[in-house]
Amino acid sequence: MAEGAGEEKKKFSIWDLPDVPVGQLPPHLELQRSRVSCNKDAPIHTESIQYSGAYASMGIDNSSRLDRFSNNFRVEVVRLNEDDMEFDMIGIDAAIANSFRRILIAELPTMAIEKVLIANNTSIIQDEVLAHRLGLVPIRVDPRLFDYLSENDQPNEKNTVVFKLHVQCKRGSPRITVKSDALKWLPNGSELVKETRNATSDSSSKPETYTYFGCSQETIPEFVKNPIIPKYPDIIIAKLGPGQEIELEAHAVKGIGKTHAKWSPVATAWYRMLPEVVLLEDIEDDLAEELKSKCPVNVFDIEDLGKGRRRATVARPRACTLCRECIRGDDWEKRVALRRVKDHFIFTIESTGALPPEVLFTEAVKILEDKCERVITELS
């Protein structure tokens, strides 16, 4: 009771306290800014704090400038196969990552069959169903070598790829399955002859077909060694019983996924934020064993401390699927914290085969650039 008025006032400034970092956010705010906390019921702090004056009262500049971005931004490729790729993008925000994902799915051009000219179809698969199935077959050709075909253009060797399918199941033979390797590439264009009104005149010249190829596509250097074929030869297109026949010609053109999903160059493309699993207190012995067995993807490991004591450690946080098994049950939320790093994205791209995934991503970046340029030119 003796304190109070009689006590000498100590002069101190709160900024002299050692654990308030100056020029940096205090740890709890930094956690809020850069991590999504995945609690048992729902994640919190999911929005990204992009307003430049968000921490102005603390004297911290939340704005981003190009030089700071280019210093901090990194791309690290984790896995790269012929058809799929997993890489990390560190230092960007969800808005840009989502833009790349959307462009990969919907705005990268590919070649896919669009027009099917059916000469004969006595199978039980209806014409339109057959045409629909043919459209979905992925074709192994680089779409950058072709132009778009608009309504006023004539189909020529620069904007169309022609395939032929002619299969027949003879009477007496067993049923056959028509697979996508039955599609034969016609480098010289369409072979179906158009009916002309005046059939008497110019019977000496070449009959008019549905495409107007100036030269054979085989002469284009890229196709000399790699003929254009469907990427997967074992896709079932139709099944024929005895006596049934399919004879058709399919024209493939360039398009983007926005118009129809058959022109999407990726099977899918997705991203997730890097998981961060933090043990808030030391977990030892029995609790450690329990924790290790709880996790279905083996994120945790036991390390020996000697003298028979064991401690749990986080070995593979990247594998965490956020199933929240480790925080189920009483008290576990106090011991384990599940978080996600807001600016570290693990991107996975699975290509359907027209272009390799790393080319797909660089093309997506180019397309985003083109969009921005278009906006800038319109504004100026």
């Binding site: 430049s52 791309v75 690290e76 490729v77 790269l80 650039e369 800038i376 030119t377």
Partner: protein, 110 residues
């Protein structure tokens, strides 16, 4: 196309056709990071129509500084190293633009 630009040059609404969330969200995020911007948001008036409205309000006096966009043409960041597997040739597209794409001296007459 810009609306509401002439009366108050610190704020404007930009209406872009043939665009959607892909570019609008990215632009909104980047603009919000700029310290001269007080407000930035976008909206899509109707989902069936490919049009997006981006609203920007600034602190005023922000001059359109063309030099910031140098990275599109000239100072391409060639030194971005891709870590990990090194069988990729990441040649950043130089966009091939000799003249500046922000055509100051040419007015587009609508």
């Amino acid at each position: 196309m810009e609306h509401g630009f002439f009366t108050d040059n610190s704020a404007a609404t930009f209406s872009l056709t043939d665009e959607d969330h892909t570019i609008a969200n990215a632009v909104r995020f980047t603009l919000n990071q700029d310290p001269r911007v007080t407000f930035c948001g976008y909206s899509i008036p109707h989902p069936s129509e490919a049009r997006v409205n981006i609203r920007v309000q600034t602190t005023g006096g922000a001059v359109f500084d063309a030099s910031q966009y140098a990275f599109f043409g000239n100072d391409v960041l060639e030194e971005v190293e891709l870590g990990g597997l090194d069988d990729e040739d990441e040649d950043l597209p130089a966009a091939g633009l000799d003249e500046e794409e922000f055509l100051f001296d040419q007015e587009e007459k609508f």
